[in-house]
Symmetry: C2
Subunit: 116 residues, 2 copies
Amino acid sequence: MNIMARIQALIGLLTHCNEEKMEDVMLIEGILRKAVKMMDLTLLESVSHKFSPQGMTAVALLAESHIAVHTYPEEGTIFVEMASCGSRDAKMALEFMADMLEGKLEIVMDKIIGGA
Amino acid sequence: MNIMARIQALIGLLTHCNEEKMEDVMLIEGILRKAVKMMDLTLLESVSHKFSPQGMTAVALLAESHIAVHTYPEEGTIFVEMASCGSRDAKMALEFMADMLEGKLEIVMDKIIGGA
């Protein structure tokens, strides 16, 4: 891994989320924006898509990488993947999202890539 | 990891890429579209941002998750992160991207999440 940039790659599952909230695209996008702001990151753009009959997916493109969210309402679970070159621990953003959605955070992977 | 959905989470570095090509946003977006098509995945939307004086970042939002690309032209390296619920091995997409950009693929992480 011979790159000098330091990237924190983080994957988490938010389980037992509030089913109504996790179907609310506007709410999820708002939570993403707040998480980005809280982490002192810079939002460039965000895109989302609502599936029928349920589920959604959203990505926030950041100056310091990205956050991606894919929901599984039938399981009350949200898959969140974040890559960040920011100085703050990306776990804070996932903890915030879990709180907002009344879920529990399970960290699947937390890896620092590069930074040599 | 008590989710039934099966997600392949893949992180790769494309090193020694062609510096001119990796600054070409249209080219990178085209390569992403071709990779998605090749993998039988469904592109919902893509967003990108060109940094000044160099570097770019792009995300393809898929019906089956996403592909994110962050370039580090000063190092000739591209960070690629892909999450896929598709049936084909996501590594194929990264190998294709490395070929198109004349780089070498180094897999940093390849993990199956869920699918229980």
